[in-house]
């Protein structure tokens, strides 16, 4: 009986220990998020929202613009790759190799992708740092995420959809475009939202592609001019890079305050996207999956 008594005591001690560590970490995560947000909002000043050197308006705009640009590149390519893997690819060596490639892309350190982008989009084209090459670099980082969610979404569909459509005489592509893609769209969208959230925070890949300077003239709407806000071939620092820059170079007298505020804004944005993706997928599941439950 000694042994079982001891086992029970050990069990009790371990249970308490697990509760303690779990509680500790939940608190730590909570404290972390609160510190970032409180620190950022405590020193709030309307000036911080302005579109000038003392505010983050320009950087916020750059961030959003970069996210849009990079989704324009990575969504079509990523979704197409996902469709290829789910529908057209065979079981041969080529497919296996493609999978290894996607896995390699997904585990590349972002600084390495940044260097590659710097070499190919900046040095080899002879251009200056610009938003478009930054967008291309982060697209490389996002591509695997979008491709794998698309593939999973297609594979998760009931086989009957495809069989029914093919049986009606549709070609494989017509089936994909008109039947499978609309059905898989909610899950793909969730992946895209998550990917967008990741681009918001990306910094290392943009360091040498999008550049760290921002020079926008809001009155200038000539798209070829380097100070026009919408010109994708102008340099532009994103929020995440702005935080990095505030630490290394004193960009303005209230640099620390700007960085605190930027961190808070960035954190809230990322959380919003992540929670948004969650709510969206739950809502779509309910709407689309009515009969299956």
């Amino acid at each position: 009986m000694e042994a079982s008594k001891r086992a029970k005591n050990v069990d009790r001690i371990m249970t308490i220990l697990f509760y303690l560590t779990a509680g500790f970490f939940l608190l730590l995560l909570l404290a972390f998020a609160l510190t970032v947000i409180v620190k950022g909002l405590r020193g709030f000043d309307p000036k911080l929202l302005s579109f000038s050197r003392e505010g983050i308006g320009n950087q916020l705009f750059n961030t959003v613009y970069l996210v849009v640009l990079s989704l324009l590149v990575s969504v079509p390519l990523g979704v197409a790759t996902g469709i290829y893997m789910a529908e057209y690819a065979g079981d041969g060596k080529g497919t296996k190799f493609l999978r290894i490639c996607i896995e390699t892309l997904s585990s590349l350190p972002s600084i390495v992708v940044g260097l590659f982008g710097y070499l190919v989009f900046i040095v080899m084209t002879g251009a200056k740092w610009n938003l478009m090459s930054g967008a291309m670099a982060v697209s490389i980082l996002n591509l695997p995420l979008i491709a794998t969610t698309t593939e999973d979404a297609f594979r998760g569909l009931p086989l009957g959809y495809k069989k029914g459509s093919l049986g009606m005489g549709a070609t494989h592509w017509q089936t994909i475009l008109h039947i499978l893609l609309p059905a898989a769209l909610p899950r793909i969208m969730t992946g895209v939202i998550l990917a967008a959230g990741r681009i918001f925070g990306e910094a290392a890949a943009l360091l040498y592609t999008a550049g760290m300077s921002t020079d926008i003239n809001w009155g200038n709407w000539d798209i070829t001019s380097p100070t026009c806000p919408l010109n994708p071939f102008r340099p532009g620092a994103t929020l995440a890079l702005h935080i990095w820059a505030s630490r290394t170079e004193a960009v303005s007298p209230n640099a620390a305050q700007i960085a605190n505020f930027s961190s808070a804004v960035l954190l809230i944005l990322v959380f919003a996207f992540s929670i948004g993706a969650r709510i969206f997928s739950r809502y779509m599941d309910k709407k689309m999956g009515g009969e299956h439950r």
């Binding site: 069990d11 249970t15 995560l29 585990s107 360091l207 990095w244 290394t248 992540s274 969650r278």
Partner: protein, 303 residues
Amino acid sequence: MFRKEYLWRGIITVCGILVILLTLSIGAFLIYKGSGTFTKYGHSIFEFLFSPQWSPADNSTGGGKVGAAIYIWGSVCTCALALLIAAPFSMAASIFITEISPKIGTRVFQPAIELFVGIPSVIYGWMGLTVLVPAIKSLFGLNHGYSVLAAGIVLAVMIFPTITSVASDALRSVPADYRKAAYGLGATRWQVIYQVVLPAAKPGILTGVVLGLARAFGEALAVAMVIGKMRAFPKNILSPTHNLTAAIASDMGGAMEGGEYNTALWTMALLLFLISLFFIFMIHRVSAKGGEADGSVKAGKKR
């Protein structure tokens, strides 16, 4: 028929091929640029990996020294420390989520962890810089708080959610029969966890640990903010040092294109690329082994 099927099939296939080409060209460029240190400037691989002498010339005549041992050692130290801190806690957290209290686990803990996987690393770095570094400074009475310890803690907090979410997926995929059988034999919950569930989920857990390690190794800016960027071997965990990613992030901008300095930094990037390939290889090895031992236990989720 052509436009209904073959054209689009072709376009889709081209996209797949494009991804392969992209990956290959990243690898090819890294090898091409990174090998310049050894071919163009005539340094030995041994010198690059093991010599602490780092003073590459910022021009294309060369003649400097390219020993990156300090950077490599700095990366290894910080990642090892991060793993040492994060792995036990992640294990505890994932066991808590799946075995001890699945209710709180899935309602509160899991969503919180998934939320934290997505936090940008600069924010971790900035918090490390403004909160952790001063804290270490006053706690240990140092001149400044930049240290291996600070970098280790920042990385640990960063990889904790990654490891936890993969490990808890692995624990969850252990068949319920295993647990029922063990309980039926009279085992306590801890005995079930320790002697049945953990061994069965081992490949998945290891996958999580390797993924976390890969993330820590590739992290650049968060580490660069707190490591102190001092080119010296760390004497203890409280001394500042330097690492591979921070060196690339801070020095690449100023180095002349094609010069020895620039090329040496590319060699570092190549090394990082090879390390990340090695991690992928490890994950495949681990999950292949797990598959042999027990087909029903799935290895952790791929990212």
